[in-house]
């Protein structure tokens, strides 16, 4: 059975050229870049080259990049740096659809006495920009927003928000883990103060991330230690992985037109094909969205069941259903968008990459209808090819829960 990998927002396959670039640094190039001898010097030079490649992808200066261990560390660093460097300001603005790295930090800060405002989104997942504008106060230390939503791919107006924050003297951070490599980014033309990214979403391995910190921005390190990364992140550099992200950045820059051309066309064809299945809806704005992501709900069936049947047929995907999240509730992103509960539990995220082929899309379009129909045959809410809602199992007994309402 051939694998059709449509889960590239979860993680990507390490590109062969990335692995090739990394290998010498597991073998003969073992020096510490801080050492004052040639073994260290060679490695330091490789790090400089890798930093240049990432800076080129982001449109920033090499010294504005701080390497971290992952996207979550980048988010934590940005958030805590903004708060520690502005101890008098006690207000944080973010959105209702952020990654857990920001959401759970915001919840923690709220318990510590910070004021946290979470901006809502509309039915299509688009940010309520007026609500955001109204939320900014002189006490606001930081605005942090996802650039591209990991579940729906919907894009937030990051460039505009960053400009607004600059005008008001508020630090602006974006978690761009899903956006980097998929949409053009040119940081020096924006007012973005900090940007988080993660290597394993760009065909580099897991275990490496980076944070862009605009030149001149006040900064407090999250990991306190040595002079590495200009004293912004202590700890001996993860040399092979930094080199890997450099190679991945070069690859991403080269592949960007393909992401927005061939990959987008495959995504659109897949989505159009899936919409032919009855009672199927696309979650999220179909224009303001990453080129590789599609979030589709198959009503009256449950996501985990869909995933297992898909997996059995070779397809790898994700779901925003309660059963796959471990939280017992469907995705906070879909709930914030007001996706009806008939659809939230049956949501499937398909995320493509340049590694996918047209033949795979054809195969997926053969597999999907059979899987959905098999599960609908079991469902108490489906009869003779149409929804059957004449039973008492639609909502729970209490009728007061937050899921029903």
């Amino acid at each position: 059975m051939e694998t059709i990998y449509l889960d590239n927002n979860a993680t990507t396959k390490v590109a062969p050229e990335v692995l090739e670039a990394m290998l010498p640094f597991f073998k003969e190039e073992y020096g510490n870049p801080s050492s004052m001898h040639h073994k260290g010097g060679d490695v330091a030079a490789a790090l400089r080259r890798a930093r240049l490649s990432l800076a080129s992808l982001l449109g920033c200066e090499p010294h504005e990049i701080v390497y971290t261990s992952c996207g979550t560390e980048s988010d934590n660093t940005a958030l805590w740096s903004a708060l520690r460097t502005q101890p008098d300001k006690r207000h944080l603005v973010t959105s209702k659809v952020e990654h857990s790295a920001i959401i759970n930090n915001a919840a923690f800060l709220a318990r510590q006495g910070y004021k946290v405002t979470e901006i809502g989104v509309d039915r299509r997942g688009l940010l309520d920009f007026d609500e955001l504008k109204a939320a900014l106060t002189p006490d606001t230390a930081l605005v942090s927003l996802l650039w591209a939503n990991n579940e729906t791919g919907v894009l937030f107006p990051i460039v505009e928000t960053a400009a607004l924050c600059r005008e008001k003297g508020i630090v602006f951070h974006t978690d761009a883990v899903q956006a980097v490599g998929k949409i053009p980014i040119n940081l020096k033309e924006t007012c973005i103060d900090m940007l988080s990214l993660s290597g394993h979403k760009l065909h580099a391995p897991k275990g490496i991330g980076a944070l862009y910190v605009r030149h001149g921005l006040k900064f407090a390190p999250f990991m306190i230690g040595g002079h590495q990364e200009n004293g912004r992140r202590g700890g001996t550099e993860n040399v092979p992985y930094i080199v890997g992200v450099g190679a991945a950045a070069e690859l991403s820059e080269k592949n960007l037109p393909e992401e927005n051309g061939r990959v987008k066309a495959m995504r659109d064809r897949l989505e159009e094909g899936l919409l032919k299945i009855p009672s199927t809806i696309v979650n999220g704005d179909r224009e303001l969205r990453l080129p590789n992501t599609s979030n589709v709900s198959f009503e009256y069936v449950e996501g985990e069941s869909i995933l297992f049947h898909l997996s059995h047929a070779g397809i790898c995907a994700s779901s925003g259903s309660a059963c796959t999240s471990g939280s017992l509730e469907p995705s906070h992103v879909l709930r914030a968008m007001g996706v009806p509960f008939t659809a939230a539990h049956g949501s499937i995220r398909l995320s493509l990459s340049t590694a996918n082929t047209d033949a795979e899309i054809d195969k997926a379009l053969e597999i999907f209808p059979a899987v959905i129909s098999k599960l609908r045959d079991l469902s108490p809410f489906w009869k003779d090819g149409a929804p059957a809602l004449d039973n008492s199992l639609l909502t729970c007994d209490t009728n007061s829960c937050q899921i029903c309402n």
Binding site: T342, P380, L393, I403, C404
Partner: protein, 282 residues
């Protein structure tokens, strides 16, 4: 990815007894579309023998919900109603070679659907209405929680969530779950039946502050009032409890002793042995 047994995957991939029985003598519906899993079980009963002739299901839910439903129908077909009612959720899980802990609520759903179907056949009211709904998010009653805790010998709130989903939504009912669990554990250790010791439920900051306040108001203040004094809680910061003494206490030369001995001793005994009491001086 969940670790499902081959048996679970078999019943998920090839579910047995899907649909509705030819003659519906009893019907049980559990869960809901909104909550993420729902099961409709129908049974056909041989009235002379009081025996389940046929059972079929329709399920909306995850792989383990579908497998549990399929297993349930296989287990009850041919059984008398009374024998079928003796099945526990653990029997369903065992039939499938076990379920991940987080998925045990699927087996509970199967067991409840069976009970509801038999009650429906016998013309009895559905049991969920007979006790207080504790978890509003998933509509779980106190009676249901008690039974699952006892049957499965659960000792933590996390396990209650895994088995019933209660507490897995907004989390507001967690203190109630802690209280129910505390009561049941106390009872079972009092009987000397279980080897499991009663684990003190984890206290949230709010609960802890409330308890400190309660002890001060009901245990400490009345004693001080007898001597014409009074005490007021000013602040709680971690283990440090700040109080203000009033009336004759505040000027009494032995007030320092009162604090260190009496107030501290009471709070340490009734709330937390780590507590340190400080007095706020005006």
């Amino acid at each position: 990815m969940w670790e499902y047994t081959d048996r679970v995957m078999d019943h998920f991939e090839n579910p047995r007894n899907v649909g509705v029985v030819a003659r519906i003598d009893g019907e049980g519906q559990v869960g809901s579309l909104s909550c993420g899993d729902a099961l409709r079980l129908t049974i056909q009963v041989d009235k002379d023998k009081d025996l389940i002739e046929d059972a079929k299901f329709q399920t909306f839910g995850c792989a383990s919900a579908i497998a549990s439903s399929s297993a349930l129908t296989e287990m009850i077909k041919g059984k008398t109603l009374d024998d079928a009612l003796n099945l526990t959720n653990q029997d369903i899980a065992d039939f499938l070679g076990g379920l991940p802990r987080e998925k045990m609520h699927c087996s509970v759903m199967g067991q409840e659907a069976l009970e509801a179907a038999v009650a429906n056949y016998r013309g009895l009211p559905p049991r969920a209405l007979s006790s207080e709904v504790v978890c509003q998010c998933f509509g779980v009653t106190e009676e249901e929680i008690e039974r699952v805790v006892k049957t499965n010998r659960l000792t933590t709130v996390e396990e209650i969530t895994q088995f019933t989903k209660a507490g897995g939504g907004c989390g507001k009912c967690v203190p109630k779950l802690e209280a129910i669990l505390g009561r049941l554990l106390k009872k079972s250790s009092g009987n000397g039946s279980g080897e499991k010791t009663a684990v003190a439920p984890r206290m949230t900051a709010l609960k802890r502050i409330k308890l400190i306040e309660e002890v001060i108001n009901t245990q400490i203040a009345p004693a001080l009032m007898q001597d014409g004094g009074d005490i007021e809680l000013v602040d709680v910061d971690g283990d440090e409890v700040v109080v203000a003494l009033k009336g004759s206490c505040s000027s009494c030369p032995s007030s320092k002793r009162t604090l260190s001995d009496f107030v501290t001793e009471k709070l340490r005994a009734l709330v937390d042995p780590q507590i340190v009491v400080k007095e706020q001086r005006s």
